[in-house]
Symmetry: C2
Subunit: 133 residues, 2 copies
Amino acid sequence: MNIGNAAEKSGLSAKTIRYYEDIGLLQADRADNGYRDYSMSDVHRLRFLQRSRSLGFSVEECRQLLSLYSDKDRESATVKAIAKAKLTEIDRKLAELTELRDTLRLLVRNCHGDKRPDCPIIEGLGGKDRVAA
Amino acid sequence: MNIGNAAEKSGLSAKTIRYYEDIGLLQADRADNGYRDYSMSDVHRLRFLQRSRSLGFSVEECRQLLSLYSDKDRESATVKAIAKAKLTEIDRKLAELTELRDTLRLLVRNCHGDKRPDCPIIEGLGGKDRVAA
DNA sequence: ATAAAGGTTCTAGTGAGTGGAAGGTCAAGG
DNA sequence: CCTTGACCTTCCACTCACTAGAACCTTTAT
């Protein structure tokens, strides 16, 4: 399939897909006319990239995640270590996102129509105290 | 408190904090010596920024989220609309992140020691089909 | 007094795209 | 056959969100 189609299916722009090819994240086949040609498997990878990027992983982290996805050597210690580290990070992100959501919900519900300048909920918004990593 | 301290407490670098001030996200008081001076409330805001950024929200989105946080006019329709849109987005991110985690877990567990070139889990990695927005 | 640590501003560079020009390809209609 | 419009190609310049480093000032500890 052509790049426009792959873009639509993956949620990435065609420009971004070309850029990912440039930096070696995912190289596509070429049709006889020179057009890039994507398989469904490529589209899966692209969607995977779209998600991980939008969830705050860097391109380099996505490259590692993709290697879990594509690597024939999936049982290697390195790859497993990466996967485990990523899992930990994902769990942290999940916790933070959940907290953010709860706070926002509370804010929407409880501060509705409330004109008090110092809504008591505000102070909780920074999340629980924790030492910086 | 000085910027270094605020940086440590918020998880942002001092450079980033200065940058956020540059673009008008959060302006700090100044002490007599010219040093920036942060309150705990500022630190809450900074941590809030650190989180929302790391969870994939753009700086402009963070600016909106911060306005929920800081705005005295919290009951306004605009602000509430923003909050609701953000909540929807957060829920979507939560779902995606959960899916990513489950997939990664499955991959780590089930592909251990498995040298087959086409691990059947792989095909699931792109997530459920959905039409691009 | 002096050194180290931390603050200031400034300019420049990086990572991750995005926009637009200039041109090639393809399917449909006149 | 020719044109029109949608889609593809490459390339270069621009934006956004930092990040590094220089040059210099302030505070703290010895």
